[in-house]
């Protein structure tokens, strides 16, 4: 029986078949097929959610290894496991809407999540202060565009010197936008080509077919 699960051909067939179910009905005027494909889409969304257990497992295993080997920071790993377990248990026992669960969410997740992104303002700042030096024509163009937009974005200059706004709007909404448009046109084919390679069985490492393994 195990050959069936191991087989490259069987798994590839499932991949192709499910690709077809996701892909084809969109283009066909057959509502029944579309409906079934939709149900399958929801099934795949549910199946995908099960993967979280694997993430949890690897987190526990990693932390336990740190603790058992007394590696640097092992005490923090004890704390991590305790807090995580307590929160998961609370979620299941008292529910997510309970005040105690929400207390932890509001006290830990909310501020930390804000800091990890907000801290990027500082990194952007130092990178900008370092790179915006007129070393060449390229750098000069960067500086001109950057400072114009910065001046416009600062509300004070935006309000007192409305003359700057058409240039800044032009730079962000036209020049910046065209870069993005070029980017999206340029990368879409690559992504589809990766799918071509997967569907023709040339790139199956994502299923665990690494190296010569598989039959």
């Amino acid at each position: 029986m195990s050959w069936f699960f191991k087989s490259k051909q069987v798994n590839l067939a499932i991949l192709v078949a499910s690709f077809m179910m996701g892909f084809v009905p969109y283009f066909l005027e057959v509502p029944q097929v579309y409906g079934f494909a939709n149900t399958l889409t929801m099934v795949s969304a549910v199946v995908g959610q099960f993967a979280i257990v694997i993430a949890i497992y690897s987190q526990y295993r990693r932390s336990l290894r740190f603790i058992s080997e007394r590696r640097k920071g092992w005490v923090y790993n004890i704390y991590l496991l305790v807090l995580m377990s307590v929160m998961i248990l609370m979620g299941f026992l008292v529910g997510e809407h309970h005040a105690s669960y929400m207390w932890l969410v509001n006290s830990i997740v909310a501020p930390c999540s804000s800091v990890v992104y907000g801290i990027l303002a500082f990194y952007m700042f130092s990178a900008g202060a370092r790179a915006f030096r007129a070393r060449s024509l390229k750098a000069a163009l960067l500086i001109i565009a950057g400072i114009t937009v910065l001046l416009y974005q600062a509300p004070l200059t935006g309000a007192y010197f409305p003359g700057i706004s058409p240039y800044a709007v032009f730079l962000t909404e036209k020049v910046g936008m065209s870069l993005n448009r070029m980017f999206s046109i340029a990368i879409i084919t690559g992504a589809i080509m990766l799918n071509v390679r997967m569907l023709t069985g040339r790139e199956l490492a994502f299923m665990g077919f690494v190296g010569e393994e598989g039959s």
Partner: protein, 290 residues
């Protein structure tokens, strides 16, 4: 004397950047203690967004998608508050879908704290005027399922109560949604555009963080979204338009100073570069931009 000048220029080229971090901290916190109240202007982009809001009529149903972490909420807060105040004031029906696990904290922060008294003032009640569907849109698959068969894919609200008998009975497919109002930190949920806007032509307005603005501008130019509110700045402009001054306008002082500080340090860096680094050809700062 000459030696001291030399040192200053050298410092300008090679200062420890952690000083700038400290300065930025101080300049952001200070105007919150001593507000200056700098004026702002309203951009065309925000005016267009507001015009889109004005196309809604009382009783219209809006898909209110919060695909943001708590951190993104910090940036989108002014826009979220003023948009929702507009919805509440004009009796527009909302069903809120969360696109991120941290959305739960947002419900408390936005609905239970910021907007509570406002909702009471306009008698805006749960079940009748708005419904929270919770984790209804975690990914594209779920969005697609909701867009094609709403009643089949969504049965309960975030607390597990049935949604039958509410205004959501009116929705069969994405075509019955009058507008999508999306608050996102990037691609967020591409399913909204892919499966609702493209398929049913539903208008979609978006409140986007600054980082992901170029992508949204391209989408707006291509007509995929009809209104775009840019970052905190856009939010505070909307506060002016809906005439509900809030956190955005207060933030603008710190916002201005933060921008000016960067410009000042760019100037300092350039003086240092031409005055010292280039002359002694000892450029220590490394970057691609050459």
């Amino acid at each position: 004397m000459g030696k001291e000048d030399f040192n200053l220029l050298k410092w300008m080229a090679t200062y420890d950047k952690r000083w700038t971090y400290l300065l930025l901290f101080i300049l952001v916190l200070l105007p919150m203690i001593y507000p200056i109240g700098m004026p702002i202007s309203v951009s065309e982009l925000t005016k267009e967004y507001y015009e889109q809001l004005e196309t809604l009529e009382e009783g219209d149903i809006v898909l209110d998608s919060w695909s943001t972490e708590y951190s993104g909420y910090m940036e989108l807060k002014p826009g979220m508050i003023s948009s929702h105040k507009y919805f509440i004031k004009n009796g527009i029906k909302l069903f809120i879908c969360l696109g991120h696990p941290e959305g739960l904290a947002l419900v408390q922060a936005l609905l239970d704290e910021e907007l509570k008294s406002y909702m009471e003032k306009y008698d805006y009640t749960y079940g009748e005027d708005y419904i929270i569907l919770g984790t209804a849109l975690p990914n594209q698959a779920a969005t697609l399922a909701m867009a094609t068969d709403f009643q089949g894919s969504v049965k309960v609200d975030w607390k597990g109560d049935s949604i039958q008998g509410t205004f959501l009975d009116r929705i069969e497919t994405g075509a019955d949604i009058d507008m999508i109002s999306d608050y996102t930190t990037g691609a967020g949920n591409p399913g909204l555009i892919n499966h609702i806007v493209l398929t049913f032509g539903t208008p979609m307005i978006q409140n986007q963080i600054g980082v992901s603005l170029p992508g949204s501008l391209a989408n707006k130019d291509a007509g995929l979204i009809t209104g775009l509110l840019a970052s905190t700045r856009g939010g505070s402009e909307l506060e002016l338009l809906v005439n509900e001054p809030g956190p955005g306008l207060i933030a603008m002082d710190a916002f201005t100073l933060g921008h000016y500080l960067l410009i000042i340090f760019i100037v300092i860096g350039n003086i240092g570069y031409f005055g010292w680094a280039k002359r002694v050809s000892e450029e220590r700062e490394r970057t691609t931009i050459r």
